[in-house]
Symmetry: C2
Subunit: 356 residues, 2 copies
């Protein structure tokens, strides 16, 4: 093979993970065929909702693994794929909880089943029921199989048990974060900045950064020190990522993020931006705008302007930088191999780069 | 210890399973405490929704296991507890799908969270959201940990892998059954008798009978023949159980079943009773009564009378007997040890005995 045709390291990793997921879904669809075409269709819908993403969590697993000298790319791809399925399960059920039928502008599982039922002539209530049912079931299948992929990775006993512990911690934390998030949505008072950071860390950062990085390190046979430090790095960087995500949800460019910048404002989503704003004199006017499902583009523009002039935007940006820098500082610790530092420093930059 | 104080075999089995679940929940609540009191409360609610049942699935595991010569009661209790948690997960999410806030007359997870939120003064919509959210999250935790308990059973590699396969099949089938059930609820036409039997088998019988019996046999190191026959027995008896359950849902005594006998009629639940009735001349009148949420006691009595005179009741009873007898016949096969036959024959009788 000509050297020009060599895939990059990152492409090779990605294609290994894709291959594991493709095999898993092919196998599942074949099994499902014995139960009828509608079950195959559910698996196809689940597959569509798993593919097309950035494969962010597998990337974390494989980056840590290879930078720490791991060479069994296939085993690592299984672990990466397991975290990807966990991610799918969590967002699918998160959408059930939030009664969302659309994600990033495209119908999610609930949405596609609801729309199909509505097109078949059912009432709106029945169509929504059909959509939510499919999403509950599909999320269960994804969740169960996230565990299963680790089990099927071929990784030997002690390591497999530790990987399952990491996965367990990830789900345990995420469930806690989700529960706190629901409480926040229900509470009339806006939570404090640090409570929002805790919730976001639990709900997303643990399973997206800490867990995958630690899993990659464990699989590579890294020392406890390294595993521990990677967890710390993942926590800091994961919080930074969430802060940036919330900023993009209000100030981002839709064409870049694929996400509307009015949804969070209309929902009145509890973010650090909003928690900070409550302490400023702009709050009464902001409060009158956000959380209104009919908020106009003009109203949203005014809210953005107030979130900027109140200092909320620059506070959140500064906090994101602070956490990203804290993350990077952990990589400077002497027991972190230079190769790992070289691989992960760009991650910290990339997290911040999204708002630059 | 005096011989009189010796617990019965069945009580000893039950207490071992209870002990595993109690340890699991204590551990989980201790872990949850680090995330705040509301997370501990969710685990407590999940525990309440797991205990108090008949421990039916663990009984199947332990019966097969001990009758086939298994002696590691603790390992078997872990496997039994795993199926109990799977059961909890499935009914909790089934209630989410059906938008049910009550199960057997008592608030379920959604119900208790909804009621607490309502008592705190939130709107009905917000209170229901809180309830459903808690149930989605709690079901996820139960589902994930059902797998985890098998992993933690201490069972060695090859056997553990086979047990995980059985659990996987159970969830895979149950998800398919649930999906078909949702389709049935949405469809305007009443499904055929055999389609309902297939759905009920997949949704409930596989994880309640086939899976637990096979798991017990695998754990005991039984031959493939025995594992296979137990699966067949479980399938037949599981279908019989569902038929009886549907009969009790309409004709049972509430004080015995703990289940209202008007709910299924008001819901217009698709059962073999109803599927049979569609082919009789009583159908137009039955159709006019069932599926009406405001069906009166008098209307329900009339529906019961019509389901009886149409022959639907005796058809369903006969079919239940037929499946139970087919199940018993499998136990007569020569490779089934007499001890196992002695233990399982009463199960078939008990299934039928519920309608006697």
């Amino acid at each position: 093979m000509d050297v020009v045709d060599q895939p990059s390291v990152s492409e090779e990793r990605q294609s290994q993970v894709d291959a594991v997921l493709e095999r898993f879904f092919t196998l599942s669809k074949n099994r499902a065929a014995a139960f009828g075409p509608q079950y195959v269709q559910l698996w196809e819908t689940l597959e569509q909702n798993t593919t097309g993403g950035k494969r962010f969590r597998p990337k974390m697993v494989l980056t840590a693994y290879q930078a720490l000298g791991g060479t069994d790319l296939e085993a690592a791809a299984y672990i990466g794929a397991a975290f990807e399925l966990l991610h799918t399960a969590l967002i699918v059920h998160d959408d059930v909880i939030d009664h969302d039928f659309v994600r990033r502008g495209v119908p999610n599982i609930s949405g596609s089943y609801r729309d199909a039922a509505a097109a078949a002539g059912t009432s709106e209530r029945v169509a929504e029921h059909s959509g939510i049912s499919a999403a509950v079931i599909a999320g269960d299948l994804a969740l169960f199989n996230s565990y299963r992929l680790i089990d099927r990775s071929g990784v030997a006993d002690v390591t497999r048990a530790r990987l399952l512990d990491v996965m367990d911690e990830a789900l345990f934390a995420s469930a806690a974060g989700e529960l706190i998030d629901v409480d926040f949505q229900i509470a009339t008072e806006v939570p404090r900045v640090d409570d929002i950071l805790t919730m976001e860390r639990l709900k997303t950062a643990v399973y997206s950064f800490e867990g995958p990085l630690q899993a990659g390190a464990i699989l590579a046979g890294a020392s406890e020190d390294v595993v521990h430090t990677l967890g710390d790095f993942g926590r800091e960087i994961g919080i930074a990522y969430q802060l940036v995500d919330d900023l993009l949800g209000v100030f981002g460019l839709e064409e870049e993020t694929g996400k509307t910048t009015i949804g969070d404002l209309r929902e009145g989503k509890r973010t650090v931006l909003i928690a900070y704003a409550t302490t400023t004199r702009e709050w009464p006017e902001i409060e009158g705008l956000i959380g209104d499902p009919d908020l106009t583009d003009e109203g949203a523009a005014r809210a953005r302007s107030l979130l900027t002039s109140s200092g909320a935007k620059s506070f959140a940006e500064g906090l994101a930088r602070y956490y990203a820098n804290r993350g990077s500082a952990r990589l400077a610790e002497p027991h972190i191999p230079p190769a790992l530092r070289t691989e992960l420093d760009p991650v910290a930059d990339a997290v911040l780069g999204r708002v630059k």
